[in-house]
Each structure stands twice: as structure tokens, then as C-alpha cells.
């Protein structure tokens, strides 16, 4: 009878925890920036799965923990010890095997997601295009639209090549086909884009949160990265690898446009003669009263130390007119 009640309570708790986990898994999508690339959908699905399982485990552990805190306290004058239970082999085997199976499963699912994104990344020499998409009968754990998006993008148009150069502290984007440069990243929607990342000085991080992928930019090394923007709008590109004094200001906007707008932008940009772009780091550095000898900025309450001077503002065909501002 007592046992039956315990089983009943445990089952009810398990159901409640499962419901809460489902709810959290759904909720998790709202914690991210918009899903602006096909890859971001894959990441968000994976994250949702982790959130669900993570919540389940967290509540599964914390529930009994709190129950114990409430009900297994010593009464005030009870100086006796609790029963000397030292272990239970079966329990111990179960709670070793379960996490083992779980993390191996999570690794496998993560591996599948990574494959599907096929973002290339460093040192991937074999360019088989999205091979694992040719597995039609395979029951996919998630909905397969992102893959279809990627596949469609790859099939319909050639991959759009863009060279990215990072330096202290500016981003320059070069479009080799039209030979134009810009400090704002413009991308066509629904096309596969291949970035070739280069650094002129230190490590930087190429990170567009709306695309869910970051990749270090390493001096002396060309790193390829492929992505598929699927949503028009303005997003933010941030340096994600600490790169020195003006690291936090090394950001710019990413504009994903319809193919028409994109072509127009390319045409307009190539018509412009290159000019010096606005650069936050160079601007702040020039504001300093005693350049080079300490301060980078006059407004602050606590003054600073000498810094590596920023590279001169990049000379590009296209630069946003004013100080880049952040999208919501």
C-alpha cells in the first residue's frame, strides 16, 4: 500500500516534470535572436532538445532534493543518527548507465546537426556538397525545412563568395565578382554564401548571432565558412574573440536583402569611388587629448593606459553614412 502510493506520487511527479520540460523546450526558441539563416533553425532545434532534456534532469534531481530538505529534517531534540544505508548497487549502476546513454545520444544528435549545417569551417578540404541530405527515407528527429532551404539554395544559384578581412578594429567585406568593398555586410537571401575569413593582425571572431555561428579569424590562415541566410532584415555582426583595446566596438551591421535589392546595392556600390569609412575605434582614438600616451577617450571617469593604435579607417566603396546603429 505504501509502496503503491510512492509509485503513484513518483509517476505524477514524472508526468509534471515531463510537461514542464516540454514547455521549456518550446519556450527556448524565444530566447534567441531571429532565425535569419537555415543553420540557425538547426541550432535552435538542437538547443530546444537540450533544454527539454536538461529541464527534465534538473527537475528530476532537484525535486527529490527539495522533498528531502523539507521532510528529512531532524526534530529539535533528536540526537540519533539516521539508518546507516551505505549504498545500493542497482541504483548506482542505473545512475551511471543512464547518463552514459544520454550523453552518447546527445553527442550523436549534435553530430547529425553539425553535419546537416555543413558550415565547412577550418581545414575541411573535401568539398562534397551537403552529402547527408541524400538520405530520404531516414526518419529525421526534427522537421527538415532547414535542410531543404540549404539544399534549394545550393541547387538554384552558385555559391556567393565574399572575402572577409578583420583587423584591429574594423571589418572589411570584399565581393570578388564585382570587386567592391564595404564595411557593412550585405547578403542575398536564400543563397548559399561562402565567406573566406582572413585576419591582418590578431585573432578575431566572426559572429553573427542571428546566424548562430561563430568562427575565429586566424592570421596566416584562410578559413572558409558557409551559411544560408533565409530572412531579410538588418542584423549585427560582432567580434567574438577578444582582440584588444577597442574589441567591444568592433561591430558592424549585416543586411540580408532580396536578390533584387542585393543586385541594386552591388551596382550602386561599384559606381562609387572608394572613400574612407567611419570607424568607431579610430574615432575614439582621435578624440583622446594626448594620442598615444594614455587615454583613448576623454569622457571617462578613470583614464587609461597606452594602446596599440587602431588601423586607419578602411577605404571602401560602400560605407553606411553614419555611425552604425544597432538593430533592435
Amino acid at each position: 500500500m505504501k509502496k503503491l502510493r510512492a509509485i503513484l506520487i513518483m509517476s505524477i511527479y514524472a508526468i509534471l516534470v515531463a510537461l514542464a520540460s516540454l514547455w521549456m523546450a518550446k519556450q527556448s526558441y524565444s530566447w534567441f535572436p531571429p532565425e535569419a539563416s537555415a543553420e540557425s533553425k538547426l541550432t535552435d532545434d538542437l538547443f530546444s532538445l537540450f533544454t527539454g532534456l536538461g529541464t527534465f534532469i534538473y527537475l528530476g534531481v532537484i525535486g527529490p532534493f527539495i522533498y528531502s530538505l523539507i521532510f528529512h529534517r531532524a526534530s529539535k531534540y533528536d540526537r540519533s543518527d539516521a539508518p546507516p544505508i551505505e549504498g545500493n548497487t542497482w541504483l548506482e549502476v542505473i545512475w551511471t548507465a543512464t547518463p552514459l546513454v544520454l550523453v552518447l545520444t546527445l553527442s550523436f544528435v549534435s553530430y547529425r546537426t553539425y553535419e546537416k549545417m555543413s558550415i565547412r569551417g577550418p581545414m575541411e578540404l573535401v568539398h562534397l556538397h551537403v552529402p547527408q541530405m541524400i538520405e530520404p527515407a531516414y526518419a529525421e528527429p526534427f522537421d527538415s525545412t532547414p535542410q531543404q532551404d540549404i539544399q534549394k539554395a545550393v541547387e538554384t544559384e552558385p555559391i556567393e563568395q565574399i572575402d572577409v578581412t578583420a583587423r584591429q578594429w574594423a571589418w572589411v567585406f570584399h565581393y570578388p565578382e564585382n570587386d567592391i568593398t564595404s564595411t557593412e555586410l550585405h547578403l542575398p537571401v536564400d543563397r548559399r554564401v561562402r565567406f573566406t575569413l582572413r585576419s591582418q593582425d590578431v585573432l578575431h571572431g566572426f559572429y553573427i548571432p542571428a546566424f548562430r555561428v561563430s568562427q575565429y579569424v586566424v592570421p596566416n590562415e584562410d578559413i572558409n565558412l558557409e551559411l544560408t541566410p533565409v530572412r531579410t532584415g538588418t542584423y549585427r555582426l560582432r567580434d567574438s574573440m577578444y582582440s584588444g583595446t577597442y574589441f567591444a566596438a568592433n561591430q558592424t551591421d549585416v543586411v540580408v536583402q532580396s536578390p533584387n535589392d542585393y543586385q541594386q546595392w552591388l551596382a550602386a556600390a561599384s559606381a562609387q569611388t572608394p572613400g574612407s569609412a567611419f570607424n568607431q575605434a579610430a574615432y575614439e582614438y582621435s578624440q583622446s587629448s594626448e594620442p598615444g600616451s594614455g587615454n583613448t577617450k576623454d569622457k571617462v571617469a578613470v583614464r587609461g593606459w597606452a594602446t596599440i593604435p587602431p588601423a586607419p579607417p578602411p577605404v571602401v566603396n560602400y560605407a553606411p553614412k553614419h555611425e552604425p546603429d544597432s538593430p533592435a
Binding site: L91, G121, Y216, W305
Partner: protein
């Protein structure tokens, strides 16, 4: 609540008792007593904890507003570099070495560490290295501004062109603290292997000792890699070599491997002893043996082994080829298994126990709950696709502060409160302790939880300024940060006043089972009148079985009482 019913026992003092307050001058000497050295470590590192905390307060002040307006960007960058370095090298590592120093010989029934003089030398290197690092605030160019990773090429850029610059001092300071850690590790490993009391077999050795052993083994194999990398970095910086200098053909990524080969396992150097503290504190205050003691003990060593092969998870977004990403993803996730075993064991320990919520128990329980959360976000980070989004964002900062503050600092507090009566012979003030706990727990949640959504939204770490969309959670985090700053005040007040005027308690106020509780409080110089002869395993709560066959100190009459508790009340 605490059952301090025992009237203070008058002890005839044949030998000096190092923890006693009238003896404070000993702490400024080159003492070779492991108990003096332990307290020296704890107090010194706590001062550095306050220094590092002060840096954090200024950083949180800067981050209340999106613009970089409180301090100059170079100052902010120097502050986070110094915050991270001080907190790791001069607070977390040394304070745990201090606790280990104090407790390990007592727990294994030894008279001291294996190499007492080496022990003293190891300690005195810590303040020297710490002061060296802090002195970089006074030189032209200021302290290192390359983060606690000191990744080249940024760490090799030397704006002042001086030979003595912040980065050089940083490397020297870290190297000295590394030498100190290696000497400490040799000492611990030798002590634990060779000096356990007669009868103390491996499976009669307390879980804390196991965890210290596991942690110190990591120091031995890991730290040399960091030292080697740091020396090459120093050569690049000063002697014109180019191991990591890209302009001259070097490869900065190689440094990352050297750095993380140590610095990932290093996180286990910090967390393992805290796991040990949890394993010691819970049974005492729940009056129940540690559930699955053998598995918990062995899982520490398994962690030592696995953690040597996971370091690339800090470099998923670096120039890391896909096969490496996948391989290290699997190994990283495997660490969760031994960590999980411990958590389940702790929950099963308190289950059905007779708990008392003393301050050390509260901190231990709070620490465990935070660790469960941090372990789960750790699994998230181990997954390559997720990490590629959150790497170097505030999500990571939230994760490791949940470990480092939520679990480790809380566990350290638990340990300090728990063994405070042993170290001083006096009891801390329970009310102040509980206040301290509440402030710490709430502060931790307020500052570090919001960092997770911030990271998911895409806020990079190490930024002095940020886009306005991140403002809300940053204000919340700053408030939590100031609360944490505040939380140290009741602790300091508690420790100082209790040490001087706290209620005197007997040798075993918790009625705990363990060799350290068999001797006087504070223990005399050589710890035991007569070395204990161990005849049973640790955590014998609820069994009427003595721990040692010879009661080494005739004063300890309350110990047998705890073994026959039915008659006690």
C-alpha cells in the same frame, strides 16, 4: 540548532595550539606546521578574493550602462584580465590548497605533510606572486590586458615597447604560482600515498582526501603544459623567438592547445576538492553515511583521467578541424557521467537523513543545487553546434561563474564554517552565517542567471560597451553583483569576531565521525598524542562501530557518545 551542548574542555597546554587566537603572531612566521600554513593560505587568498571582487565591482559598474563611460576601455580590459587571474591563481587554487593543507594530514592521521619546509616555501610564493601581479598597475602601460588566457597575438602586442610590461609581469607571476602549485602537488601526493595512519586503507580514506589526491594529480600532469606554453610566450615577447607570432611564421593556435591542456583540467583541480567538501559535510549534518562512498571516491580519479582529453572544447570555434570538434565533443560529454554519479550519491545521502540546516550544511546544499544547474549548461556547451553560437558570449560566463561562485565558492564557505570550530576551538555565529548564505545564494542567482539569456541573445564576453538591447539583464546582473560584494561583510564580521570571542566548543561539536575530530580543537602542533589506528571506514553514522582502536586523546569523551547516540539525548 547546532547542539553545542558540550561545556568547553580545559586542556592543559603542553604544546602551542596554532589556531588559538592568542597565537596570531605565528601566522606571520615561516612556520612549517601544516595547520599554520593552511590558515595562512586561506587568509591570504581571501584577501586576494576581496581584491578580485573589487575589480568585479568596478566592471559591473561599467556594465550598468551600454556605453564605455565609467572607465577607459584599456582600464576595463585590464580589470577583467586581473579579475580572472587573481580569482583563479590567487583565490580559488590557494584557498583550496589551504583547506587541503589543514585537513589532509588530520584526516589521514599524519603529524604533518611529507615535506613541511617545502610546504612553507610553496605558501610564501603565493603572496610574492600576487603582489608582483598587482604591482603591474603601477608601471607604465598598466597591467596585462589580454585576458586570463593571454592568447597571442594580442598578448604579444606591447604598446609601450618596454621590456618590463604588464604582460611580462603576468607571465612571471603565473609561473611563480605554478612552481608553488607543483611543489604543493608533490607534497600532497606523497603525503596521501605514504603517510596514511596504520589501518587506513584506500577505501577507509575519506572522500575529501580522494578528491584532493585526484586534483593534485591533475596539477602534476597539466600544469607543466601551461608553464611550457608560458615560457614560450615569454620568449616570443622578450627574446624575439616566434613560436606563436604570426608575422614571423608562428602559430598562435598552438598556444591555445598548451593553455587549455592545463586550463580545462584546472577547472577540476578547483571543483574536485569542493566535491570532497560536499561529501564530508553532508553525512555529518544529515547523520547518515555517504551513499555510494566507494563509487564517489573512485569517480574523482575517473574525472582526473577523462579531463585530460577534453581541452579542445574551449577551441571549437578556433581553427579546429571538424574531426577534432566531434571527438572532443564526445569526451567532454563523458565527464558528465562521473560528475553525475556524485550528485546522485549526495541526494541519496540526504534522502531519509536527519538533517540540520547549519550554515555549512546550507552552503553545501546550495552549492550542490548550483552545481546541478552548471553541469547541465556545461553539457550544452559541449555540443559543438550550440557552442558555436554561445562560445565567447555571456552564456559561457554564466556557466563558469555558476560553477566557480555557485558551487566552488559556496563549497569553500561550507568547508570554512564546518571546520571553523576545529581550526579555532570556537563556534562561529549561526545568525550571521545564515545571513551570509542568503545574500550569497540570492546574489549568485541575480548576477549569473541573467548572463545566460544575454549570451543566447548574442552578447559577447569581455566587452566594455554593448548594444542597448542588452541593457535590462545587465542592470539586473550588476545589482546581483553588488549584493555579492555586500555578502562578504557578514562573513568577515563573523570570522573575526568568532575567532576572538566566539563561544568555546569541545573537540567535536558536530559529533562528527572522522580522525580530525578525534584530536583537540585547535589541534596541537603534532596533531595527535598517539597516532590513531584505523579499524573501519569513514562515515560510520548509525552504526555503533569505533573508527580507531586506540583513542589517542583521553579528553575526547564525547566521541564514543556519538557512536551510541540512542543513549545520548
Amino acid at each position: 540548532m547546532t547542539n553545542i551542548s558540550l561545556e568547553p574542555i580545559e586542556i592543559v597546554r603542553g604544546q602551542p595550539y596554532p589556531g588559538a587566537p592568542d597565537n596570531w603572531k605565528r601566522f606571520f612566521t615561516f612556520s612549517t606546521d601544516h595547520k599554520v600554513i593552511g590558515i595562512q593560505y586561506i587568509v591570504t587568498s581571501f584577501i586576494f578574493f576581496l581584491v578580485g571582487g573589487l575589480f568585479a565591482m568596478i566592471m559591473r559598474g561599467e556594465l550598468i550602462t551600454p556605453e564605455a563611460d565609467l572607465v577607459d576601455r584599456t582600464v576595463y580590459n585590464a580589470l577583467f584580465t586581473m579579475h580572472g587571474s587573481v580569482m583563479l591563481f590567487f583565490w580559488t587554487f590557494p584557498v583550496l590548497v589551504g583547506l587541503g593543507n589543514y585537513l589532509v594530514p588530520l584526516m589521514i592521521g599524519a603529524r604533518d605533510m611529507a615535506f613541511p619546509r617545502l610546504n612553507a616555501v610553496s605558501f610564501w610564493m603565493i603572496p610574492i606572486a600576487g603582489i608582483l601581479m598587482m604591482s603591474s598597475f603601477l608601471i607604465p602601460g598598466g597591467p596585462s590586458q589580454s585576458g586570463w588566457w593571454a592568447y597571442p597575438p594580442v598578448s604579444l602586442q606591447n604598446p609601450t615597447n618596454n621590456l618590463i610590461n604588464g604582460q611580462v609581469l603576468w607571465i612571471l607571476s603565473v609561473a611563480i604560482s605554478g612552481v608553488s602549485s607543483i611543489m604543493g602537488a608533490v607534497n600532497f601526493v606523497t603525503t596521501i600515498f605514504k603517510m596514511r595512519a596504520p589501518g587506513m586503507t584506500w577505501f577507509r580514506t575519506p572522500a575529501f582526501v580522494w578528491s584532493v589526491l585526484a586534483a593534485q594529480l591533475i596539477q602534476l600532469y597539466g600544469l607543466p603544459s601551461l608553464t611550457g606554453g608560458a615560457i614560450m610566450l615569454l620568449l616570443d615577447l622578450t627574446a624575439g623567438t616566434s613560436f606563436f607570432t604570426p608575422e614571423r611564421g608562428g602559430n598562435p593556435i598552438v598556444y591555445q592547445h598548451f593553455f587549455w591542456f592545463y586550463s580545462h583540467p584546472a577547472v577540476y583541480v578547483m571543483v574536485l576538492p569542493v566535491f570532497g567538501i560536499f561529501s564530508e559535510v553532508l553525512p555529518v549534518h544529515a547523520r547518515k553515511p555517504l551513499f555510494g562512498y566507494r563509487v564517489i571516491a573512485v569517480s574523482s580519479v575517473i574525472i582526473t583521467v577523462i579531463s585530460s582529453a577534453v581541452w579542445v572544447h574551449h577551441m571549437f570555434a578556433s581553427a579546429t578541424p571538424p574531426w577534432m570538434r566531434m571527438f572532443f565533443m564526445v569526451t567532454t560529454m563523458l565527464v558528465a557521467v562521473p560528475s553525475g554519479i556524485k550528485v546522485f550519491g549526495w541526494v541519496a545521502t540526504i534522502w531519509g537523513g536527519k538533517m540540520r540546516f547549519t550554515t555549512p550544511m546550507l552552503f553545501a546544499l546550495g552549492g550542490i543545487s548550483n552545481w546541478v544547474f552548471a553541469g547541465i549548461t556545461g553539457i550544452f556547451l559541449g555540443s559543438v553546434p550550440i557552442d558555436l553560437h554561445v562560445h565567447n558570449t555571456y552564456f559561457v560566463v554564466g556557466h563558469f561563474h555558476y560553477v566557480l561562485y555557485g558551487a566552488i565558492v559556496m563549497g569553500i564557505y561550507a568547508g570554512i564554517y564546518h571546520w571553523f570550530p576545529k581550526m579555532t576551538g570556537r563556534m562561529y555565529y549561526e545568525g550571521l552565517g545564515k545571513l551570509h548564505f542568503v545574500l550569497t545564494y540570492v546574489g549568485t542567482a541575480l548576477i549569473f542567471l541573467p548572463m545566460h539569456p544575454l549570451g543566447l541573445m548574442g552578447m559577447p564576453r569581455r566587452v566594455a560597451s554593448y548594444d542597448p538591447e542588452f541593457a535590462f539583464w545587465n542592470v539586473v546582473a550588476s545589482i546581483g553583483g553588488f549584493l555579492l560584494g555586500l555578502s562578504t561583510l557578514p562573513f568577515i564580521l563573523n570570522m573575526v569576531s568568532a575567532w576572538v570571542r566566539g563561544e568555546k566548543v569541545g573537540n567535536n561539536p558536530w559529533r562528527a565521525y572522522g580522525l580530525e575530530w578525534l584530536t583537540s580543537s585547535p589541534p596541537s602542533v603534532e596533531n595527535y598524542e598517539e597516532l590513531p589506528l584505523v579499524i573501519s571506514g569513514p562515515y560510520g553514522y548509525g552504526r555503533s562501530e569505533p573508527l580507531v582502536s586506540n583513542v589517542p586523546n583521553p579528553d575526547l569523551t564525547e566521541f564514543p557518545e556519538s557512536l551510541t547516540p540512542q543513549k545520548a539525548s
